[in-house]
């Protein structure tokens, strides 16, 4: 599903963010990216939906070399990749329902399809009752559920999560991880960057460790350290 071939990313011609990374991730895998801040985790994720392009190497998503994609096709790549962030990136002036619906409107889905899909996904993330609330009326965990709903409503092949539990307390984090696990079990490939030792050690999934821009460990059913 995802393949990196000797990928190197250099920012502004000097700062190497990722060096010579080669990774193969199969469909339906759940992968943790771990490592200290600045070790290249976010860059790794940003390369996958072509927010960034590598200086060297090739990246394949769903069998396609995404470096070859012309700019106008990049949005179609992103429709297959959901993204979740530490800071949720919800629109503060839209309700929970509207925030999720916005993701479908933006890719031109018909109104009827939106009316059907949004309540379904809100049910899945356990927020059916909060559809009419504004984001600032929700707890952090609930806001993250909205953002996961928005990322998953289009049923992408891949879900990228950049420290999704970074702003949440441990109990709430467990709930979010259960949700991501559930999404993973529908066949969606999940790649999650995290600092959360407890989560990684409990879930025992594949762990890719980055240190100073290099992949230093790639372990099936791994632990944080």
């Amino acid at each position: 599903m995802i393949k990196l071939d000797n990928v190197t990313k250099i920012y502004k011609g000097e700062h190497v963010a990722l060096r010579d990374a080669s990774v193969d991730i199969a469909k339906g895998e759940f992968v943790f990216l771990v490592g200290p801040s600045g070790s290249g985790k976010s860059t790794f994720l940003r390369l996958l939906n072509r927010e960034e392009s590598p200086e060297q190497g090739r990246i394949y998503v769903a069998g396609k070399d995404i470096g070859e994609l012309p700019g106008y096709k990049v949005p179609y790549l992103r429709r297959n990749i959901g993204s979740v962030f530490q800071d949720f990136k919800l629109l503060p002036n839209k309700t929970v329902y509207e925030n999720v619906a916005f993701a479908l409107e933006a890719i031109g889905r018909p109104k009827s399809a939106i009316k059907e899909a949004v309540p379904q996904i809100l049910e899945l993330v356990g927020l059916a009752k909060k559809a009419g609330n504004m984001p600032d009326e929700l707890s952090g965990g609930e806001q993250q559920r909205v953002s996961i709903a928005r990322a998953f409503v289009n049923r992408p092949l891949i879900l990228l999560a950049d420290e999704p539990t970074g702003n949440l307390d441990p109990a709430t984090s467990v709930g979010i991880m259960k949700l991501l696990d559930r999404i993973n079990r529908t066949g969606t490939t999940v790649v999650m960057a995290t600092h959360d030792r407890g989560i990684v050690d409990t879930m025992r999934r594949r762990v890719i460790e980055l240190d100073r821009s290099r992949i230093v460990r790639d372990q099936a059913r791994g632990v944080y350290e």
Partner: protein
């Protein structure tokens, strides 16, 4: 690239409201600059019409009688060609004269339809070698009494001077209009930049979920177009008012002996309005296009 129209209109509308003050400033600047362009265009047309026979290379008109024979015309032509005083001669035959007449009175079709080409006097338009008024008058005198000649007229020097000053004035109006158009482009550019900035969170989310580039761009481009076209609409009203005022105050007033010759047809007015809308749309498209490409990372 299926972007829903109602979406674009909704987003554009909310951008315009959000930036009401900047929008008004942009629209007014466009309106003023395009009004100046329109006025300059109309006056320019008027100058060309009123002085069609007074082009700077013509100093002397020899009008032939309508009943003048081909022989007589030929003989005058021969004399002019052979005259050492003459630099250039243009013969205006029936068709050429009628064509010019139609152009001058295009807004008076009744008049045009009552005149037949045969009834208009044919003429020679002569450029003597010397511009000295006395020499020109001497050349004219030679032809005044020849067979078939109706009368000889001289391009008055003061008329030419008025024409020159009007042209200069008109050039300045056009330059100021041009500068204001540049200002309009900058204002629209800034307004769109502000709109993009105000919506940066939405844009970020749209990019993340894979909205197509046109879906993101279009509302902003349409916003710029609305600025340009609204300004053009106001300027069209301005041009129409200018046209009415000019006709009321100058054209039908005997007192303004030279200004009342500067007239344009309703066709010219329509052409000016078309030009206004074209330039307005272009201004909006250029201003918003630059802003979108510079500030909308897709």
């Amino acid at each position: 690239m299926a972007v829903r129209l109602d979406y674009v209109l909704k987003e554009t509308g909310s951008n315009l409201r959000r930036n009401a003050t900047l929008t008004i400033a942009a629209v007014l600047t466009v309106a003023v600059s395009l009004s100046l362009v329109a006025a300059s265009f109309l006056i320019g047309k008027g100058i060309n019409n009123s002085f069609l026979g007074l082009r700077s290379d013509v100093q002397l008109f020899i009008y032939m009688k309508p009943e003048a024979t081909a022989e007589q015309i030929k003989s005058i032509k021969k004399d002019l060609d052979e005259s050492p005083q003459v630099r250039k001669v243009d013969f205006y035959g029936k068709d050429k004269t009628f064509a010019e007449f139609k152009r001058l009175f295009a807004d008076q079709p009744d008049l045009v339809s009552t005149i037949k080409p045969d009834e208009l006097p044919q003429s020679f338009r002569v450029l003597p070698k010397s511009t000295d008024a006395d020499v020109v008058a001497a050349v004219g005198k030679q032809f005044k009494s020849k067979a078939g000649v109706l009368r000889v007229e001289y391009a008055a020097e003061y008329a030419r001077q008025v024409q020159r000053s009007l042209r200069t004035l008109n050039t300045w109006v056009l330059i100021v209009g041009g500068i204001l158009i540049a200002a309009s482009v900058l204002l629209i550019f800034n307004t769109i930049r502000t709109a993009v900035f105000a919506r940066r969170r939405e844009i970020e989310v749209m990019r993340l979920v894979g909205a197509s580039n046109w879906f993101i761009r279009l509302p902003f481009m349409v916003e710029g177009l609305v600025h340009g076209l609204s300004g053009a609409l106001l300027a069209a009203l301005g041009a129409w008012g200018f046209d009415a005022l000019w006709k009321k105050n100058f054209v039908n007033q005997v007192a303004f002996e030279l200004l009342n010759q500067i007239r344009w047809s309703s066709g010219d007015l329509w052409l000016a309005i078309v030009v206004i809308f074209f330039v307005g749309a272009l201004t909006g498209a250029v201003g918003s296009g630059i802003a979108v490409s510079r500030f909308l990372k897709i």
